[in-house]
């Protein structure tokens, strides 16, 4: 083995195969040298908290719940947000490994995107770092997961709109490879199929921003939908803007349902009907799952499903007589 490789291992640099790394550390141990403090396997009472952004108020709300639950057990969250023009998730994972974190909580990220790179999750598993994921993940990662039940969320939205006479529904959801969005779309389509053609569902994908939501909703409005089910509150705010730009009214002409129930959604124009994620309970469950592993419990791969609730405010209403429906 080259001196350079040994040096890379001792300085805990990336790009060394796990087997090589083990070989070098074993050699150190055998020769009676102490391992560098970084490599002794003692982990800090730090937990990585990976969030896609903090603009959408659901993420700071989650960070607050998770951070509070961690602090109560003497752990401090290391904050990793992939801001615009920011750094990759893999880079953050390297930095978290450098910090010797005891575990990582991912709240949204590549684990939910089928087409994104997933090698850094593999790295965490190799190093034996406990991980917990928020909301649905791609199938093969094998980490425990705390998720809002997307099927129930879709049923609540579908049922609410159909009970008010809407038959032409549209779904404004995240990107095509986003697993929670896939689940919601599948559930909406299954329900439409059960209606034997009485209810139809059109789908438009968008990045998770208000502007993208507006553009996607505009595509659906061109197909004369009267009820929009959105993948986040922010997408719903964009959808409302699209409806107005088309010269129509919410909810008189088009009803809009969000997802999350993040802060201040009762102050929007109109106040947003939305599916609330029980983030308080989910955040606490995630921390418990994670810290149990940190303290030596075996890692499970199970997915804990939490029931969301439909919060009805002012952005949904009955289909207007003569409105262009089915």
């Amino acid at each position: 083995m080259s001196e350079a490789t040994v040096s890379r291992v001792l300085n805990n640099r990336p790009g060394v195969a796990e087997a090589t790394r083990e070989a070098v550390l074993t050699a150190l141990d055998v020769l009676g040298y102490e391992r560098p403090t970084q490599l002794r396997g003692e982990r800090a009472r730090l937990i990585g908290l990976v969030l896609p952004e903090l603009q959408n108020p659901i993420f700071p709300a989650l960070a607050e719940v998770v951070g509070g639950a961690l602090a109560q057990r003497g752990f401090t969250p290391v904050l990793c947000t992939r801001t615009t023009g920011g750094l990759s998730e893999a880079y953050y994972v390297d930095m978290l490994l450098d910090q010797q974190v005891s575990g990582v909580v991912f709240c949204g990220g590549h684990y939910a995107e089928a087409d994104a790179p997933h090698e850094h999750y593999e790295l965490l598993r190799e190093r034996g770092v406990p991980v917990v994921l928020f909301n649905a993940a791609v199938g093969h990662l094998g980490f425990p997961c705390v998720a809002t039940d997307d099927e129930v969320a879709s049923e609540q939205s579908f049922g609410h709109l159909v009970s008010m006479g809407h038959t032409r529904l549209g779904a404004v959801v995240g990107p095509e490879d986003h697993v929670p969005s896939q689940r919601r779309v599948a559930s909406l389509r299954a329900q439409a199929a059960r209606s034997s053609g009485a209810v139809t569902v059109e789908v438009a994908h968008a990045q998770f921003s208000m502007e993208a939501g507006r553009a996607a909703a505009a595509r659906l409005l061109a197909k004369d939908v009267t009820g929009l089910v959105c993948g986040s509150d922010i997408l719903a705010l964009g959808a409302i803007r699209a409806v107005r730009r088309a010269g129509k009214d919410v909810p008189a002409d088009v009803s809009v349902i969000g997802f999350d129930d993040s802060g201040f959604m009762n102050c929007t124009d109109p106040p947003l009907t939305t599916v609330r994620q029980p983030i308080e309970a989910m955040g606490r469950a995630a921390v418990t799952l994670l810290l149990n592993q940190v303290e030596g419990a075996a890692a499970s791969e199970e997915e804990l499903l939490f029931e969301p609730e439909l919060v009805v405010r002012g952005s949904t209403g009955p289909l207007r007589d003569g409105a262009k429906g089915a």
């Binding site: 560098p36 009472r45 730090l46 607050e64 401090t76 904050l79 124009d269 109109p270």
Partner: protein, 339 residues
């Protein structure tokens, strides 16, 4: 000791002089060299000098009162991004409802041997005199963004609260408002006190010479920072006949809007409301909120620069830098209606 140092120098492949310079934490050593020496120390089983032990971490504490008010996550996001670009990792400390106090967090942060702390909308005085003293004694680099109390002798990055109020007053006066009220944070909260100072100074400039000097008091309410606080506190200035309200945060402004709606008033027809912060999505509120925007990005970047300078031992004077806010006019302010 000399033999130990020779061993370390040999293992690291550097000169004895270099080892000494690293151990004394002198500048002008390449990071790579420094790490080689420290690794040699570790491998040979010698303890690192205490002041070099924390270096690995490169952790920076971010202390915020809460993440409910969306201005705090906005600051956290921009400061975090700046820190990470400098190779520093932010650790997040919020004072939650569950009662993990700021004092506790500061102890946690010091246990992690953080390289510095950025306080956002709070200050280490909240941690109690003991922790404040420890921070100072250890010489831990500290930067305050919009501190909640007076902190002379610490580097501060602050939005110009007086300018915010002046801009709001000018806007409302141009719309014909003469009875203007204020919703502020608790007494003793410095940003609120500064806003009130600008408000009172303006009042005094305009007051008739023989008028009651305290007549502005009925137009001003001090309260907490939640929307519900704002909603409750709105009663006082409304009773005093205010046709417009300047609020110390967007959340307070949204509370004022709700209070007005609850009384069957229209906005801005019956009451104009100006927020403060311009937190995300205030464009989507009912009505879209006229507010005074804090330059969050510029302030966050300045805080990171100031902290980085202190960590590098190049601290400038512990001054306060004031940032100019800007008025964003949306739909919650309008021409005064004769009452």
């Amino acid at each position: 000791m000399a033999t130990k140092l020779t061993e370390v120098a040999a293992f690291a492949g550097v000169s004895l002089a270099t080892v000494r310079r690293v151990l004394n934490d002198q500048p002008s050593i390449a990071q790579e060299t420094r790490e080689r020496v420290l690794t040699a120390l570790d491998v040979l089983g010698h303890e690192r000098p205490s002041k070099l032990r924390g270096h690995r971490a490169g952790l920076v504490g971010l202390v915020v009162p809460d993440l409910q008010n969306p201005i705090f996550p906005a600051f956290v996001e921009t400061v975090s991004a700046g820190l990470v670009k400098q190779g520093l990792m932010p650790v997040l400390c919020t004072r939650t409802a569950d009662g993990v106090s700021e004092a506790n967090y500061i102890k946690l942060l010091m246990d992690h041997e953080v390289a510095g702390i950025v306080f956002i909308g709070s200050s280490y005085a909240d941690a109690g005199p003991e922790h404040g003293r420890t921070l100072k004694e250890r010489g831990i680099p500290v930067v305050l963004i919009n501190p909640a109390d007076a902190n002379d002798g610490v580097r501060r990055i602050t939005v110009d609260d007086a300018s915010a109020v002046d801009q709001a007053l000018e806007h409302l006066r141009a719309l014909g408002h003469t009875r203007i009220g204020m919703l502020l944070g608790p007494g003793g909260h410095i940003p609120s006190a500064r806003k009130l100072g600008a408000f009172v100074a303006d009042w005094e400039r305009r007051a008739a010479p023989d008028s009651d000097p305290g007549a502005w008091r009925e137009l001003v309410a001090h309260t907490g920072f939640s929307m519900e606080d704002g909603r409750t506190a709105t009663a006082r200035p409304l009773e005093a006949g205010a046709t417009a309200l300047i609020c110390a945060s967007d959340a307070l402004a949204l509370g004022a809007v709700r209070a007005a709606y609850r009384q069957g008033m229209s906005i801005p027809g019956d009451l104009s409301v100006v927020g403060f912060d311009d937190s995300p999505y205030m464009i989507a509120t009912d009505p879209p909120l006229t507010t005074v925007r804090q330059p969050v990005r510029a302030m966050g970047a300045a805080a990171v620069d100031a902290l980085k300078a202190q960590i590098g031992g190049h601290a400038g004077p512990p001054d306060e830098t004031l940032y100019e806010p800007e008025l964003i006019v949306r739909a919650s302010t309008g021409v005064v209606r004769s009452r």
